[in-house]
Amino acid sequence: MVSSSSRKIRSISYAKYGYLFILPFFIVYAFFQVYPLFNTFYLSTQKSTTDTGSVVLETVGLDNFKAILFGQGKTTDDAGNVIYKETRQATAIKNDFFRVMGNTLILWFGNFIPQIIISLLLAAWFTDAYLKVKGKGFFKIVMYMPNIITAASVAALFVMLFSDSQFGAINSMLLKAGHDTVPFVSGKTQSRVLIMIIQTWMWFGNTTIMLMSGIMGINPSLFEAANIDGATPRQQFFQITIPLLKPIMLYTMVTSMIGGLQMFDIPYLYNVGTTQNKFTETIAVFIYNHFHNIKPNYGYSASASVVLFIITAILGSICFAVNRDKDTTPKAKRGSKALKNKLGGL
């Protein structure tokens, strides 16, 4: 009885420390993240005009969304009534928006597919107890390395190597071999493929390690049993590893998609000089270029951000649901124990 009453007192008297400990996080979060998020929603209903250096906002309701999604602009008809119809400016911005969404999808797809194939194979090999590959730790460290190199520097390096000019490293070699120069940085297909290659190069190590921790969560006795039954490595891969990896593969895909929607550094910097390549301009670049301007257009930026937010929220809840599912299985408990053991040794 004594102990239960003292526990009650304790939980009452210490609760305020709980709030004090989490308070700084929430204050800063509210100020630098939550308010800016609402500000973005607010700005999506505004039209900004620049007047002698200062930006003036004007409320226009959903006009920005009508423009970027449907190409409908506000005009007046012959009788002087306000109507919405396709205007040149609105159509141009709609075409821009759909072009950058298309670019984003193409670039994401083109780096995700090779990445997941390479990573799945590597992850299966790294975790295969029967393969006696030496120096697995070394390989993992080397393959993860591109991921930590500054993306801005990676873009700069590839711009230098693949420069369109006859002096670019690759093009000068092509010329010598009797070929014409190839527009690796400004050409439609060339620039896209190069960005896909750069992204794959930067991310396959990361995906491999994520998938590996998924494979290691699979009960090893399944593989042993399959081995005893004479299953070939190929059969084991397609009939044990892949089906049991489905949740973590879905998780990897969704997080990679959310990451893909944010793709900015490489598409923004892999360009000739300061001219943005139209074929590799992503949604993040579109948003940035519209607000980061001497004459910012907050409305278009913000309404595109809101669309991006809705897409991310849908993808995020898929991810959340997958994770939830995992949390309720006993596997997750094992996982957290493994976390403790592993980090305990550091």
Partner: protein, 296 residues
């Protein structure tokens, strides 16, 4: 396990062949991973004439110090917005302070969520989980317009202070504490008359050291590499304020610079710190990724 396999001769033969093939593929992929960086380093040591005349080479030249000298001349005459030392200083200031803030306050938040019982605890945790996924681009319009209204563009405040609220790091640290932090120790400290903050700093932090270390490395690398936020906030593009990734960008977007060796050496200088950090801590980093330490 392997004794069963070694039983038949053909099986062990098969394993040998597979091991060889897999090893070769892994060596190839390792070479692909390293090759661009190797070419970068080699080109940084070659003369511009050599590079434009012969393209890619795998043999280093002898011109590294001349190239860096050219860079320093350009910088001294303000021909370029690149100065490696100013860049190291600025990126260093931002990366160090954000890392300390992220780790300390995330640790504090996680500690608060694990050690104490309070009404809003679950709601607070759910909010943190929900906001973890919001991409920075979604809020950046609102963030930028807000900061320019406050007159905080060209200031490091919007680059450093937001590091206090890092949802993904809180998530990771809470997971870690849940699995390895004995709450009895807090009660024992209370009985001994230790205050709550002192308990956190003298018992909590030392016990969370491994999680702190992993997250500190990730935070440092991520902030050092960050191009997006500094380029959004530092609108005047003053050389004295620029971070290294921004400086690198000024080099390639300037088409009047035709000393390729110097350009490559500028890029090389910008990645040296992260490469050093990586090779010192690579074991932690790879294990950290495996534990879901980074969310991209």
């Amino acid at each position: 396990m392997s004794t069963q396999m070694a039983g038949t001769h053909s099986n062990s033969q098969m394993i040998k062949i597979r091991t060889t093939i897999v090893t070769i593929i892994m060596i190839l992929l390792a070479i692909i991973s390293l090759l661009p960086i190797y070419i970068l380093v080699v080109n940084a040591t070659r003369t511009s004439v050599d590079i434009s005349g012969h393209g890619i080479s795998l043999i280093p030249g002898l011109n590294l110090f001349n190239n860096i000298g050219t860079l320093m001349d350009w910088s001294a005459t303000n021909k370029i917005q690149y100065d490696a030392f100013i860049g190291y200083r600025n990126s260093g200031i931002i990366a160090f302070s954000t890392t300390i803030l992220t780790v300390l306050f995330s640790g504090m938040t996680a500690y608060g969520l694990v050690v104490y019982d309070f009404k809003l605890k679950n709601i607070a945790y759910t909010i943190i989980l929900a906001v973890m996924m919001i991409p920075v681009q979604v809020t950046s319009v609102g963030f930028y317009q807000f900061m320019s209204r406050l007159g905080l563009t060209d200031s490091y405040i919007p680059l450093i202070i937001p590091a206090i609220a890092a949802p993904a790091v809180v998530f990771f640290m809470r997971q870690y504490m849940k699995s390895s932090f004995p709450l009895e120790i807090v009660e024992a400290a209370r009985i001994d008359g230790c205050g709550e903050y002192r308990t956190f700093f003298t018992i909590g932090i030392p016990m969370m050291k491994p999680a702190f270390a992993v997250q500190a490395i990730f935070a440092f690398v991520a902030n050092w590499n960050n191009y997006y936020t500094p380029s959004m906030i530092l609108i005047s593009r003053e050389k004295s304020q620029l971070t290294l990734p921004m400086m690198v960008n000024t080099i390639i977007s300037n088409d009047k610079l035709n000393d390729f060796g110097a350009n490559y050496s500028a890029i090389m200088l910008s990645i040296i710190p992260v490469v050093i950090v990586y090779f010192i801590f690579s074991k932690f980093i790879v294990e950290g990724v495996a534990l879901g330490g980074v969310k991209e």
